[in-house]
């Protein structure tokens, strides 16, 4: 009856309604998959491979959903900072190795030591693994690496009866003998930005130098050696404007007898050289001081890290990151990105493919490679900028090595 309020039927209905409203969240939560976002800057075939990896993983793991988002590489770090500031971090990140200390300091990365259930030190090479660690904590797993290699014009060397240089002195001598009208003996990018410092570091570290002491004799000698190549005409002054990508076509059309190229360019170099009929060779950088010694060089590469502090999301993100490291899952991504693998099991699979023989020089230098950020952390980029200034000043003859380093 209206005056009493609800009828018995009304009570039953409202009771059922209340129960379902209260129980609904629990039922939905039990069925709802964990939603993860993955943010990276991979484009082209590498990007397509990442998307495929995400969908393959989702097919095998229906309780986890991954949405992939991309931004251009030069906006990546800023995007991460903005999203963290807005409280909407991406859960799975694919960061450039040297970014780890800075992003950790900013609170963007989440440590995964609590979730890791594999022996990372036995699986990964020490140098790439060091870019996934900072101050004793692990933040992700390295997915692939690249480095600079020496390429040389076989005909030009044979014509002058020269052998491929393996030490720094040999590089200078061979370069000097190869320099001729219209041909420079050697070139390496000295473009303002990370490339300039990155190309100099092998010649500095192999002399025993360290980034926390840039006034040592090793630093002065290394700077004098490197700047002297341009100052004395063995390498072109124009290399201060060339990014590494611009060195490849000039090497292919015979303006450069030897050059330093990135391993990510080797496939396109191979294709272009075949088209131009150029007989070329790839070698380890001639940065060693004595014949037979191993040289110490920097490397690039990415780390797949976790950006979210939510335990459910972090655990799910770890599942994906761990699964990606399965050799036959990661090797296609490594090949599409023109990397070499960072883990020992994946290297075995990678090297079994003869098409990857181009990258032998990189695999050879990776065991003795060194991380750029291990001593300086987040302030590496600032120091790198100052080193670039010093290198360019010595190359243009604006200052000698000691004065240029004195300004740092």
């Amino acid at each position: 009856m209206q005056r009493d309020g609800m009828t018995r039927r009304g009570l039953l209905w409202s009771g059922a309604g209340m129960v379902s409203v209260l129980a609904a969240p629990a039922i939905v939560r039990a069925q709802a998959p964990v939603e993860l976002t993955m943010l990276d800057y991979s484009t082209g075939p590498a990007g397509a491979t990442l998307s495929r990896l995400a969908s393959d993983f989702m097919a095998a793991n229906p309780t986890i959903r991954i949405t992939r988002q991309t931004v251009p590489q030069n906006q990546y770090q800023n995007t991460l900072l903005q999203r963290a500031a807005a409280g909407q971090p991406a859960d799975i990140l694919d960061i450039d190795g040297p970014m780890t200390p800075g992003l950790t300091d900013a609170g963007v990365l989440a440590p995964i030591d609590a979730y890791v259930d594999l022996d990372v030190d036995a699986t990964f090479y020490p140098a790439p693994l060091s870019t996934a660690r900072w101050k004793g904590k692990l933040y992700g797993l390295p997915v692939g690496n690249n480095a600079e290699v020496l390429v040389y014009n076989k005909k030009m060397l044979a014509d002058k009866g020269l052998s491929v240089p393996t030490t720094q002195d040999e590089l200078r001598e061979t370069g000097r003998k190869l320099t001729d009208k219209g041909v420079y003996g050697f070139a390496a990018s000295a473009y303002g930005g990370e490339e300039c410092t990155w190309n100099w570091l092998p010649y500095f570290w192999s002399r025993g130098g360290n980034l926390d002491d840039l006034h040592s004799q090793a630093a002065i000698d290394a700077l004098e050696f490197w700047g002297g190549l341009v100052r004395d005409g063995i390498a072109p002054a124009a290399q201060l404007s060339w990014q590494t990508a611009e060195i490849e076509p000039r090497f292919v059309n015979g303006q450069l007898a030897m050059a330093m190229l990135g391993s990510w360019q080797l496939r396109s170099l191979d294709a272009n050289a075949k088209q131009a009929g150029l007989d070329y060779g790839i070698a380890v950088l001639p940065a060693a001081m004595k014949p037979g010694e191993k040289m110490i060089a920097p490397f690039g590469g990415e780390v797949m890290a976790v950006g979210s502090l939510d335990p459910a999301k972090a655990a799910a993100a770890w599942q994906f990151i761990k699964w990606v490291q399965t050799p036959n899952v990661i090797v296609p991504f490594v090949e599409q990105s023109a990397y070499v693998p960072a883990s020992k099991p994946a290297t075995v699979v990678f090297e079994s493919n003869p098409a990857n023989g181009l990258f032998k020089a990189v695999s050879e230098m990776l065991p003795t490679a060194r991380s750029r950020t291990e001593l300086l952390g987040a302030s590496y980029y600032e120091v790198s900028g100052k080193i670039t200034t010093a290198i360019q000043q010595v190359m243009t003859g604006a200052a000698d090595a000691k004065t240029a380093l004195g300004a740092i």
């Binding site: 500031a85 900013a106 609170g107 303002g192 201060l240 404007s241 987040a378 190359m395 240029a404």
Partner: protein, 318 residues
């Protein structure tokens, strides 16, 4: 009207108006202009004043990469200003900016004025020429400056090629990779970008000068150069003031040209305040110091703007 008529009209009004305006409020007409400027009053402070204020605030804080995420930063007083003023690169950037601005403004003005005078005459394709003269200013600077980058290339650039073919030079010039010529190169490109703006403003300034003055001067026996010196130039003074001010501000803001061509190099030879501020903030992650350099640029622009306001206020009316 009589009292009774007025009453009846009023009651009619109230009865028909009651459903529409129960409160009896009528929008005063004097308020309408404020309605038009209200969006601007909201937009300008939000988009311009707030970032300016925030920039000033950051320059007194130790703003690091962590602060970008958390928003928290320690107050450090004048430390950032002390740090940048004791950094020799700041003084180098100031010197480069001064040379860059002075040379650019002078050359842009002179060439712009010459072209404007040229366009006062009639010649075939004048309209078309005036149109394409605007292109350097209208085209996106990233695209045009990248082309200049290739033109200036040390080994394969067109400029060196033509200069060598014409035997003007014996060896290729290292335009962008030698400290002295790098500054010249960026001045050349900035002048090229700035000429259209000067041309347009000077041309309309010259058109605004009454023809009778020229005729009077001619009757008095003035030759072409004297007419230019005693009629054109003095009457262009207000135009010159605007050009100088805007040109200075645009040149101070100029970032694309330098960043794409040399990134401030080689070895800081072309580092100017805008690129230095950018490097401090986004490469070194020292946002407080970058903001401090930005404030110095702001001070220079403000000084120029105050000078301009003072200068044009003193001008006697026409």
């Amino acid at each position: 009207m009589s009292r009774s008529e007025g009453l009846s009209t009023r009651s009619l009004e109230t009865r028909s108006a009651a459903p529409l305006r129960a409160s009896g409020f009528r929008w005063p007409r004097e308020w309408t202009p404020y309605l038009f400027i209200a969006p601007l009053v909201v937009y300008l402070p939000a988009v311009f004043a707030y970032p300016l204020f925030y920039n000033a605030l950051i320059s007194f804080q130790n703003f690091t990469i962590r602060s970008v995420v958390t928003g928290a930063a320690d107050f450090v007083g004048l430390d950032n200003f002390r740090a940048i003023l004791s950094n020799p690169v700041t003084w180098l950037a100031l010197r480069n900016t001064a040379i860059f601005a002075a040379s650019s403004l002078f050359l842009q003005y002179v060439i712009g004025l010459a072209l404007a005078l040229l366009f006062t005459r009639a010649f075939p394709l004048k309209g078309f020429m005036r149109g394409i003269m605007l292109l350097p200013w209208l085209l996106p600077s990233v695209a045009t400056v990248t082309v200049w980058l290739w033109l200036f290339d040390g080994t394969n650039g067109l400029i060196n090629y033509f200069l060598l073919q014409l035997h003007v030079i014996a060896m290729p010039v290292s335009w962008l990779n030698s400290p002295a010529s790098a500054l010249v190169a960026i001045i050349i490109v900035n002048v090229w970008v700035g000429i259209p703006f000067n041309l347009v403003i000077l041309y309309s300034g010259i058109q605004a000068i009454p023809k009778e003055l020229y005729e009077a001067a001619e009757i008095d026996g003035a030759r072409a150069f004297q007419r230019f010196r005693f009629v054109t130039l003095p009457l262009l003074k207000p135009v010159n003031a605007v050009l100088l001010l805007l040109g200075l501000i645009y040149t101070l803001k100029q970032f694309d040209i330098i960043y794409i061509l040399t990134k401030g190099g080689p070895g800081n030879a072309t580092q100017v305040l805008s690129t230095w501020s950018y490097g401090l903030s986004f490469r070194d992650m020292r946002f407080g110091q970058g903001a401090a350099v930005g404030n110095i640029m702001l001070l220079i622009s403000l000084t120029a703007a105050i000078w301009y306001a003072f200068f044009t206020r003193r001008e006697p009316g026409p």
